[in-house]
Amino acid sequence: MRLSRRAQALLRGVVGLGLAFIYVPLIVIGIYAFNSSKILKWPPPGLTLDWFSKAFESESAREALLTSIEVGLIATAIALLLGTLAAMAVARHRFFGRETISFLVILPIALPGIVTGVALSNTFTQVLGIPLSLLTVVVGHATFCIVVIYNNVVARLRRTSGSFEEASADLGADTWQTFRFVTFPSMKTALAAGALLAFALSFDEIIVTTFTIGAGEETLPIWIFRNLFRPKELPIVDAVAVIVILISIVPVYLAHRLSREEGGVAAGKGAGAVETEATAVP
């Protein structure tokens, strides 16, 4: 669009301010992680690396980290399977209720997390008689992770023509062979990108987790939340926070690279498409 120099400069200024707004809090927490004082006064009197070594020594934080990784991996595996199946049905077939399926997949993230959390926890404890545990957390996470995989795979399948699969069938391949040698290779990177995002989403989640986790267990976000109110632990929490940011950003960056290589564009979470012409964000 043709804009006057002044308009362009103004727009740049707004974008700069917007980016500052987005990044300042992340930078501030980053600095606090090196704060040499236990009191959170700005500016910090000096810098230290102590909190990081204390964070690594903290057994409860380490355990929470492992729990988070475990939950994230299992939830991602379930979401990979269910999301891919649903995506293949919706992108490659026409059937009654097709719109409903795509709506249902989005619903767990279109509704507030607290609704999903309360509903699942209620069903587990009141109807099924299953005590809350890590397993129930995994079920909750998998439910809202499905959409991330689904969106990535649907976007990919829409961009690759179904005629390849027809050609494969015409040449005598059976359904499994067609999937193994034609469909799967074409959506491999979409699956990888989706899986990375699903993991990041699960790793970071706290609201559904709060309602579905057993009494004695902690994921890393829950650990942070519980220690937040203990002033003594707060600097360690800041150090853990920085570690968490790094762990969750790496998969997102990789996912973005993966889907860009295949020509996809933007990306977000929520409805979580990384890929897209058709399905941008959340």
Partner: protein, 295 residues
């Protein structure tokens, strides 16, 4: 050799695969069995149970859940001014946060989609994307320290003779606008990117001033994308309780659900229906406005 004999010699896996050949109905059924068992039976089923639970009560003496039928929870929701005020406060904040994010997000998305160079665009997409995915809780924690009495905000404002908002409703509005901003930027960016440059050129060639082009061409075409983004900013605000607890003493729908779930599950269930109803209404309007293509 008859075809039957050939069929017998084929390994079981291939025979199974052959079964699907030319039977699209069976293919769809098999593909959807797992996902629909999970999403329909488990997820929708749980929402249905939640609806039923809202009619249960708690025995005030034993504290046990009474699985009967009573409108008690709904009556207290409607009749007690406290709850009306809480619902209203939550919805009002959700509207404010959504409007704030739309206003901040639009110029950023516009610059990304229509003004920046290819390279600049790629960098900006990553710059917006990364914080979207970096830990929610960490970001709230950072705001909590920034807003505190000795925090960055007061430190920066003091020389100007000003004082930051501290903890409270303003803080909730500010932090939530911050948290959900990328959810708004990305759909608007994708929506704007889909508007062909030729349309904008045509408007300019026909003599429209930049502002007219913006108002008559760009805004109407991008509006569904704004609505798509607003689904997330609105829904996320409606259900949040962590941010509310960390930067204010206010009660929101989420905080009341979270604190009543252990001792009054049926009431928590009834209250959880409020965001569901609000979101269903919101989603149906959003759908009419064509937002779903942008989600």
């Amino acid at each position: 050799m008859t075809t039957e004999a050939v069929a017998v010699k084929r390994p079981a896996g291939r025979r199974l695969a052959g079964l699907f050949h030319g039977r699209p109905g069976l293919q769809v059924g098999t593909l959807l069995a797992g996902p629909s068992a999970w999403l329909v039976v488990l997820y929708l089923g749980s929402l249905a149970v939640l609806l039923i639970t809202a009619f249960w009560t708690v025995n005030s003496l034993s504290g046990e859940v009474v699985k009967g039928f009573s409108l008690e929870n709904f009556e207290s929701l409607v009749n007690e001014p406290v709850y009306r005020e809480i619902v209203w406060r939550t919805v009002r904040t959700a509207v404010l946060v959504t409007l704030t994010d739309a206003v901040i997000a639009f110029p950023i998305a516009f610059y990304m989609a229509k003004v920046a160079t290819r390279r600049g665009r790629a960098i900006l997409v990553i710059a917006v994307l990364m914080p979207l995915w970096s830990s929610y809780l960490v970001k709230v924690l950072s705001w909590r320290t920034m807003l505190s009495e000795d925090g960055v905000i007061n430190w920066a404002l003091n020389p100007l003779g000003l004082h930051g908002p501290g903890y409270g409703l303003t803080a909730v509005w500010l932090v939530m606008s911050y948290l959900w901003l990328p959810y708004m930027i990305l759909p608007i960016y994708a929506g704007l990117e889909r508007i062909p440059d030729s349309l904008i050129s045509a408007s300019e060639d026909l003599g429209a001033k930049p502002f007219t082009t913006f108002r008559r061409v760009i805004l109407p075409l991008a509006f569904p994308a704004v609505v798509a983004g607003s689904i997330f900013t609105f829904s996320l605000t409606l259900g949040d309780f962590i941010t509310v607890r960390l930067v204010s003493n206010s009660q929101f729908i989420g905080t009341v659900i979270a604190s009543s779930i252990t001792n009054d599950l049926p009431f928590a269930a009834a209250l959880a229906l409020v965001p569901i109803v609000v979101m269903i209404a919101y989603l149906s309007v959003a759908r009419k406005l064509g937002a779903f293509e942008h989600v």
